[in-house]
């Protein structure tokens, strides 16, 4: 393995890991707080891509506005998703199948969003202008586009921002309180009813911002969320559902595995190899890297 390969792998790891982390951390946040797995997270990436396309290409505005608009749009959509597909089921939340029922309802929301996009905007792939164009040659032939750099920086900033939000602010602490002990949180006066849509909106907004960048990297089209959803699923299983640090580690670990596989054996087999590694990890640790065994196992 040449030195350029190693530099290439390192750069790709940081970029992939950051973007996976941004999509997956929302899923973990939702799972930790509401105990549901949000399958509509991929659609939020798609919506973010289309908002990015609308603002950058159709309206021709500033990328900062695009990111802000994607954040707001997916925040509202995420909160609405919670109200429509999860809130009516909350009275059944002690049932063992609650996770599965909400898995299906959020899946239905994903289906609706994807197909509304298909009906309104058509199946064609749309080019989203990169937020920043150009790139820099960092090491003999390893080119680093500014777009990727911006993506990694924004992702890491947002993940750090989420960490600070959860650790320091009133609402963040309320989310953590609910994740730890719902009844105690309620008794302390945490407005749980408002908190759930807020959490899901926030998580969806992170995915939406990721969508603006992913749209620049690939395209904006109705199924643009499928692959990010799959990757985020793999990240959250690998990291252990409900564990934020586990998700961040897993995102970079998976970025590393995928980057290495891409350099060594090519793009086609990187996903199957990744899957093989995950399978191996799950056979040894069925609850992921940092997941709690009691939640995952009988």
């Amino acid at each position: 393995m040449a030195a350029t390969d190693i530099v290439g792998i390192a750069v790709t790891t940081i970029i992939l890991g950051s973007i996976y982390g941004l999509v997956a951390i929302g899923m973990t946040l939702i799972y930790g707080t509401l105990r549901i797995l949000d399958m509509s997270q991929g659609s939020m990436v798609m919506v973010g891509s289309f908002v990015g396309w609308g603002i950058l290409v159709v309206a021709g505005l500033n990328p900062v506005i695009a990111i802000a608009a994607a954040f707001v749009a997916t925040f509202i959509l995420g909160a609405l998703t919670q109200l429509v597909s999860v809130q009516p089921l909350m009275k059944r939340r002690n049932a063992i199948d609650f996770e599965m029922v909400t898995f299906i309802t959020t899946f239905a929301v994903a289906m609706i969003l994807t197909n509304v996009a298909l009906e309104l905007l058509g199946p064609q792939q749309r080019n989203v202008t990169p937020v920043i164009s150009g790139g820099v040659n960092i090491y003999h032939g390893v080119n680093l586009p500014y777009q990727s750099m911006a993506m990694a920086i924004v992702s890491i900033t947002m993940m750090a921002g989420l960490g600070i939000f959860l650790a320091r602010t009133r609402w963040g602490m309320a989310i953590r309180a609910v994740a730890q002990d719902l009844d105690a949180a309620r008794l302390m006066g945490v407005p749980v009813g408002k908190l759930y849509p807020l959490t899901m909106g926030l998580a969806s907004a992170l995915a939406g911002v990721a969508g603006v960048f992913l749209g620049g990297l690939y395209f904006a089209y109705p199924q643009a969320g499928d692959l990010p959803l799959l990757e985020a699923l793999i990240v959250v299983i690998f990291g252990g559902l409900g564990s934020l640090p586990g998700t961040v580690y897993a995102a970079y670990a998976i970025g590393l595995i995928q980057a290495t596989a891409e350099v060594l054996v090519g793009t086609t087999w990187s996903l199957p190899i990744l899957y093989g590694v995950i399978l191996f990890v799950l056979i040894i640790r069925p609850y992921g890297l940092l997941g709690k065994p009691s939640e995952a196992r009988l």
């Binding site: 599965m100 959250v236 199957p272 995952a296 196992r297 009988l298």
Partner: protein
Amino acid sequence: MSALPNRTEPTPARPALTRTAPPRSAFPAMTPARWMVTGVLVALAAVIPLVMTNQYALSVMVTTLVLLVLNISWNFVLGVAGVWNFGQLAIYALGGYGAGIIMLHTSLSPWLAVLAGGVVAAFAAVLLAFPTLRLYGIYTSLLTFAFAEVIEYVIVNDGSGLTGGTFGLPIVKGLYASLSLAASARAYYWTVLAVVVVSTIVLAAVGHSRLGIALRGIRDAPAYAAARGVSPMRYRVIAFAVSGFLAGIAGGLYVSYNQSISPSAMGLTPMSIDVTMLVIGGLGTATGPIIGTVLLAIVQTALVSHPGAELTILGIFLLVVVVFVPDGLAGLAARYWRRVSTWAAEDDQSGEAAGQEVAGQEVAGQETGGQETAEPGAAAEIPEGSPDPNVA
């Protein structure tokens, strides 16, 4: 947010959609009356191709029946065994590709190729079962979902030419290569209908056998079942194999009828439709897959010119049914039927009947009446010999 949710982790008990009101007659005992109704329905279904001359309608019906075989197989692992396997479409596609590749490259009888597709799929299902069954709950669905996506990804990106990538297999002969188009469509219709009937009956019989009771026991009370010596791993691997084999047969029938198979047979969109069919029909019931598949096939055919609107409507359907009718249309029908029978029984016995729909908990003696036991623990609360309107 009405009731205060209890935050303690619930004991894993019944990972199915039917927690609140379990479908009690999920696999009803076959009384003579039921045999007759079934027989008449099957006979009616068998006559359709003789009456129907519209080739398009017939082809839609064959496609629906193939899908029904797949859904019956999926219902077995999802509803009866209670394993949230979302990789069933990949197993189905593997069966289809297996059968198709054998038809293309060997001179074996196409019937053997379809059977071989079933065996390939059963093998794949068992391989999937071992890592999957180590996981619990939501992890299971994640892993199997990822498995399906990866299989699709590998087939789409296959450069070796074995599967034909995105475009699928070149034209295969199929089962009835020697017949004319119209005659072969009819022949396929009857073949797939026979598979549907046989698999429904066999799986309903399995539902009453030791295997079915063990599977439902593991689904409803895993710790208790394991403590009584019912090995969750062993029985669930068997369930995966049975369900995988049937899914593979469905795949083989698909590749024969369509004379090709491409990755579009699997993936997120067909899976969404199949899940919707199963959930709307009623998971874990014998009639649920049939009701759901036929109903949604009709909706789909009506909306065939608006592909986006079709799935949007299905999504809304799915949302509404899960929220308001958690046990599906089969469960809804069973509940209404039970209520009507209860009224009839009350009239007969002049108010003696205790069948006040005690949250649907009246239970006949365990399996003796051929009735399925309801919720675990429910049987203990019911006084002995309480009249069950379904038995009468």
